[in-house]
């Protein structure tokens, strides 16, 4: 035990002595939270729209006025003929051209030409335009929509839990792998091997600090999320940290596993980069898992990030309790056991 204590202290000292580490631990969450939260929206505001008015009557001018008065649609100009309209779209100067055909006053009809490179925003833009132009009649059925858990549709509420997951994953999976490979690359591993330190002591001492740092980072991130964006935790904090402790064991196992795959830091970095990018993009941080094709959704079951992100979002935003998420916690525990076993088995061979 004494050896282990000294080893852990040594690791902590080394980590905190490294000047690059402190900014990574404290500045990175801040930057990521601020940028991601502000960027992450598919919603469209200020859609640049150009009008081609072939009619030039009072009725067509009324349509143009409606567009002009809209907050969402940004009437940027007029064109007089179709080639010019296509040009505007080709150049990307406008997202949509509203064509008011000749004879609009007698027989009202409209044509919307939309730059649909981005399909989702194109759809939203058409919805907004139809609303602004008031072309839909009364519905006989009253359709009412209600949003629960985030009635103001605040993107920050959704992004903050996801970003926190990414942060702790990077620290646990990434930095821990680098830390071990560094010893190997610089040759200090051999020195450690000839000391009476046992393998398991070495592994625990290497991983333990990152476990602690990642959990501290989670607390720091939750605090930032609350102070900067007013993201509150609806569920239980104990549940979040309990689940995070198990999740971090899985991720540290992953870090250890990555370290056994690499001899140099360059290799470790590349493997870790690759894995992290895959985990994040396949974890539902940016695009919902439910939009993926069936087989890709099944692939995400093998992604611990997906499970923990789902858990964090449900506990933080919807207020899920242990009864609602216990299955996810079991899955995380399985990940922890499997990854650590695999890593330790491989580690002996390569050590």
């Amino acid at each position: 035990m004494r050896i282990l204590r000294f080893l852990i202290r040594k690791e902590f000292l080394q980590i905190f002595r490294n000047k690059a580490m402190l900014p990574i631990i404290f500045v990175m969450p801040l930057v990521q939270l601020v940028i991601l939260v502000n960027v992450a929206t598919f919603d469209v505001k200020n859609i640049p729209v150009v009008v081609q008015d072939n009619d030039g009557t009072r009725a067509s001018r009324e349509m143009i006025q409606r567009l002009d008065a809209s907050d969402i649609i940004d009437l940027t100009g007029m064109v007089t003929n179709s080639p010019a309209a296509f040009d505007v779209l080709q150049q990307g100067d406008a997202r949509m051209v509203v064509v008011i055909p000749n004879g609009f006053e007698q027989k009202p009809e409209l044509q919307l030409m939309v730059d649909a490179v981005d399909g989702l925003t194109a759809n939203l833009a058409v919805q907004y335009a139809m609303g602004t132009l008031q072309v839909m009649g009364e519905s006989r059925t009253r359709l009412e929509g209600r949003y629960r858990h985030n009635p103001r549709l605040d993107d920050a509420q959704y992004m903050v839990p996801g970003i926190l997951v990414v942060l702790v994953t990077m620290i646990g999976g990434f930095l821990s792998a680098m830390n071990i490979v560094r010893e190997r690359e610089l040759g200090t591993m051999e020195q450690l091997n000839v000391t009476p330190i046992r393998k398991h002591q070495f592994i625990i001492a290497k991983l333990m600090p990152f476990w602690v740092i990642a959990l501290a980072e989670l607390a720091f991130g939750l605090l930032l999320g609350y102070l900067l964006f007013g993201v509150e935790v609806k569920g239980s904090l104990v549940l979040i940290f309990g689940a995070a402790m198990i999740y971090m064991l899985a991720i540290l196992g992953l870090g250890l596993f990555i370290s056994t795959l690499a001899d140099t830091q360059q290799q470790a970095m590349l493997v870790a980069w690759f894995m992290i990018v895959v985990f994040i993009l396949m974890g539902g941080l940016f695009t919902p898992v439910t939009s993926m094709p069936e087989w890709a959704q099944i692939v995400t079951w093998f992604n611990p990030v997906m499970w923990f992100m789902d858990l964090m979002r449900r506990v933080m935003l919807v207020g899920a309790g242990f009864a609602d998420v216990w299955k996810t916690i079991v899955v995380l525990a399985v990940f922890a056991v499997v990854l650590n076993t695999a890593a330790v088995v491989r580690y002996r061979k390569s050590g």
């Binding site: 690059a20 059925t141 009253r142 929509g145 209600r146 140099t264």
Partner: protein, 357 residues
């Protein structure tokens, strides 16, 4: 000159000898493109929807059938009381509950029927799309005039057409900038830079020799990525392929120059990696319009996005592939990339102080 080509050859050997790095260099882009091309989608497909049908008559059953016929929604649960809604959301079983009011058929005849959509808005983007889609299926409002909508450039609204060209930028950025910055920093960290400096090669030669192999490898990657985009994802390629390769070459140069700038600053591989991570990967994914449209960003971030090379390259790639743009439309973006490359190379030459401490 012979010494220089010898050095380039040595760099190639280094890369090709290291099987793992090689696999990453060529395998990673292919795997990433395949994975993300399929995984990064924001279309609404088979979203979990629950139904609470309070009247359960002919009309509501027909409407329910209509909801699930399109493949947009998938029936996750049928519920019978208000209390069950929260439980569905907490367990993550359904994202939205559609509630048909009581006595629906009769009330509809009188025009007072009610449908309520209750949506778990913890994902606000999705929540909006869900309600929009539900509304367009269930609403019986008729338009007052005929509106024809023409979706240009991507008529089926496939998100692969949006994201796959974007991923080309991400992959080029990763391979070129990350690999060069690490490979140069590695020489510094391991101390072999001293050996190189003592050789008759000038520092500029050393950097060029480091960069040329990655430039060639990146162009090979461009080809394989383009092949997958065309034949696996069916992404159209309307514009000129020559122009595409010229622009890809230019963007690779920009990325390599960025990598050199990072390596002149960083002392250890760890630092180089972290800078590349914070300075390249995140902006390339987030501030370039790869996933989220640039137009919606708040002003400071919108301004910042202009500094991200990938933003301009994305315009170019999507323009060439989907819109059939030529240089007549794309010269501003091209000019900006040229400017960035020149600026980055100038900066790196200024900082190129690989002297011994």
């Amino acid at each position: 000159m012979r010494a220089f080509w010898g050095f380039v050859r040595k760099e190639f050997y280094h890369i090709f000898r290291d099987k793992r790095t090689l696999m990453i260099l060529f395998g990673m882009p292919v795997v990433q493109l395949l994975l993300f091309g399929y995984a990064i989608r924001n279309e609404l497909t088979s979203a979990d929807l629950a139904v609470w049908d309070q009247s359960n008559d002919v009309v509501t059953r027909e409407l329910t059938g209509k909801l699930f016929a399109s493949g947009t929604f998938k029936l996750a649960a049928v519920i019978h009381s208000e209390d069950e809604i929260e439980d569905l959301f907490r367990k993550g079983i359904a994202r939205q509950v559609v509630v048909f009011g009581p006595d629906f058929a009769n009330r509809r005849a009188r025009g007072t029927a009610e449908i309520l959509m209750i949506t778990d808005a913890s994902d606000p983007n999705m929540a909006q799309v869900l309600q929009g889609a539900t509304q367009s299926i269930l609403s019986d409002a008729r338009p007052t005039m005929n509106v024809s909508v023409r979706m240009l450039y991507n008529p089926q609204l496939k998100s692969a057409n949006l994201f796959v060209p974007g991923l080309i930028a991400l992959i080029l950025m990763l391979v070129s900038a990350l690999m060069t910055s690490i490979s140069i920093t590695r020489e510094k960290e391991l101390g072999t830079m001293e050996t190189l400096l003592a050789s008759p090669l000038s520092p500029v030669d050393i950097i060029l020799g480091k960069v040329i192999p990655y430039l060639i490898l990146s162009l090979v990657n461009v080809c394989s990525v383009l092949f997958i985009a065309r034949f696996v994802f069916d992404v159209p390629f309307i514009g000129s392929i020559t122009l595409f390769f010229v622009e890809a070459f230019l963007f690779t140069l920009t990325a390599l120059a960025l990598g050199i700038v990072i390596s002149t600053k960083a002392k250890t591989q760890q630092v180089a990696m972290m800078v590349a991570l914070a300075g390249l990967l995140l902006p390339t994914i987030l501030l370039s319009g790869l996933i989220y449209p640039v137009d919606n960003m708040p002003a400071p971030l919108y301004a910042l996005s202009h500094m991200v090379p990938a933003r301009w390259f994305l315009d170019i790639v999507r323009g060439i592939m989907l819109k059939g743009n030529g240089i007549a439309e794309l010269w501003p973006q091209t000019l900006i990339l040229v400017g960035m490359t020149v600026a980055l190379i100038t900066v790196s030459l200024k900082n190129l102080n690989i002297r011994l401490d």
